[in-house]
Amino acid sequence: MNHRVSHRAWLAGGIATALLMLWFVSTGDTASGARLRSDPEALRLLRGAEGAARDTSYEGVQYITSWSRSGMSTTSLVNVAHMPGQGTRMRVESTTAEQGGQMFEADDSQQGRGGLTGYTPRMLDLLARNYAVVRAGEGQVCGRLTTIIEARRADGTAAGRFHIDRATGLMLRRELLDGQGRAVNLTFFTEIRPSPPRTTFMLASAPQTVETPWTHQLAGADLGALRYRGWPVKSALPGDLSLYDARQLDSRAPVVHLSYSDGLSVVSVFVQRGTLDPASVGHWHKTTRGGRTVYLRDTVQQRAVWASRGYVYTIVADAPPPVVDRAVAALPHGDTGFWGRLGRGLDRLTSWANPFD
């Protein structure tokens, strides 16, 4: 009898160990062993684009188009001017946006986070970890010779395509593609002049709105404190989306902005305490995800709003719809009844036990 029990115990232990190892292999960073192989020259060109966007004076016009899941597109024309050390100014001359003539600016510290401003080492690491970054021939953008770089999925299909100006190293065109090869987001220069911008023109355009990113960045300790207090701060979302930036408008602001990316798609999750006022999303498309009510709007970006367990979530994303759907599904959903309270409590207990996730 004792011999039989001992045999069973060893068998159960062996199975548990095998399952644990399988879990580590399938979810842990050991998956990096299966990282896709990138072309070092392609990575160097992408990294150089970030430096070029920061160090080169230029002005031009950007053409930005995004497609919704229903196939509708939204297009904007934007005047862009950059002066090293002074930042970038963008003036939206949109034909389809509700408000034209808006003016935005970003200082040099905000360069290199995506778009046409190249890649920071952090974003480049995410890109190389999740995609094979390779050179894919030559091209032309507004009459300028470019090197084409593709970010390819494991199945070989292109998820992103970049044109790097051979003369200046600036990124002139960027395409984000879904699994079927359709463009989800397209940004490119229709004209560009790598020369000191006519600042008088830009300044004379009298900006109506000047925006800068929220200034209070949240470090690891801040995020741990938020988790301890029950805030749903996840370090990663499905689709290889990693948390790479977190901030608030100021230290006492009620909204936390969590930025996730896989190197191509960018998903912003805004979390605030409270319950959702239905009137604020009255004109949104009401649908269900996982049995819960979610309000969707996919025009300029993919957007989703819902409330769960005492928090209101707003997602703004430049990403294919399936990526956004998986992110929405991975974030908390629940009502305020018994099970909602139980689930919220379990979330808090888990965050207390593991403040790093």
């Binding site: 930005i64 188009t65 196939g71 509708m72 597109s73 939204t74 297009t75 934007v78 939206v92 949109s94 389809t96 946006a97 509700e98 408000q99 808006q102 935005f104 905000q110 360069q111 290199g112 986070r113 995506g114 778009g115 401003t117 940004t187 925006e211 990113p213 929220w214 930036d245 901030r247 009620p254 909204v255 902005h257 930025s259 990316s261 960018v266 912003s268 605030q272 305490r273 409270g274 319950t275 959702l276 009137a279 604020s280 709007r297 025009t299 300029v300 970006q301 957007r303 409330a307 005492g310 707003t314 703004v316 430049d318 139980l342 919220r344 409590g345 379990l346 979330d347 808090r348 207990l349």
Partner: protein, 187 residues
């Protein structure tokens, strides 16, 4: 006198004949050597049987032996073996004095009753501890999941969020478009 005593001889030995029948049997025995020899043999057999009856166990011993066959009695304590001592022979082991076909005290099949006796007490303890842990975690989660009495009603500033998203992602901030958008417009 013709014939032999036959069945009456056994009755004579057992003292079951009447007076006249006994007299007649005795007269026959006096004259018949065969019946006399048979009567002697029967008397001898009866005497041996009586002697055997005197060595039977007492009633008290029989009751104790029967009581040992009842199911559910505690086993006698095991006899510790000294180092190097051989396993005692099967006949000497205490458990072997139990009847091998003892019936359970109720009417359940013998196998079920035996399985019930084999259930270890530790399993009940583990199950109880697990239930207690689940109840404890559930209670703690329910308490931790309590909301403040009043939560603010929120209208997300989506346009502000969109600008913040664009500025941190490196894209150009764009506001929500008018409903009339151009379908399928490509450069």
């Amino acid at each position: 006198m013709t014939g032999h005593l036959g069945e009456r001889l056994t009755a004579l030995i057992d003292g079951e004949l009447g007076h006249d029948e006994r007299e007649k049997a005795h007269r026959h025995l006096a004259a018949c050597g065969d019946c006399r020899a048979e009567a002697e043999a029967l008397r001898g057999l009866k005497k041996r049987l009586r002697a055997l009856n005197d060595t039977m166990p007492s009633e008290a011993l029989l009751r104790r032996l029967e009581a040992m066959g009842e199911p559910g009695d505690p086993l006698p304590p095991p006899v510790p073996r000294l180092p190097g001592q051989a396993r005692p022979p099967a006949a000497a082991r205490p458990a072997d004095i139990r009847p091998s076909r003892a019936r359970p005290s109720d009417n359940r099949p013998r196998r079920a009753a035996a399985a019930r006796r084999r259930l270890p007490r530790g399993r009940y303890l583990v199950a109880g501890a697990a239930a207690l842990a689940v109840f404890g975690v559930g209670s703690a989660a329910f308490a931790a999941g309590a909301d403040p009495d009043s939560l603010p009603r929120v209208s997300p500033s989506v346009e502000q969020f969109a600008v913040e998203h664009a500025l941190t992602s490196g894209d150009v901030p764009l506001t929500d478009p008018r409903p009339a958008v151009t379908a399928g417009e490509h450069p």
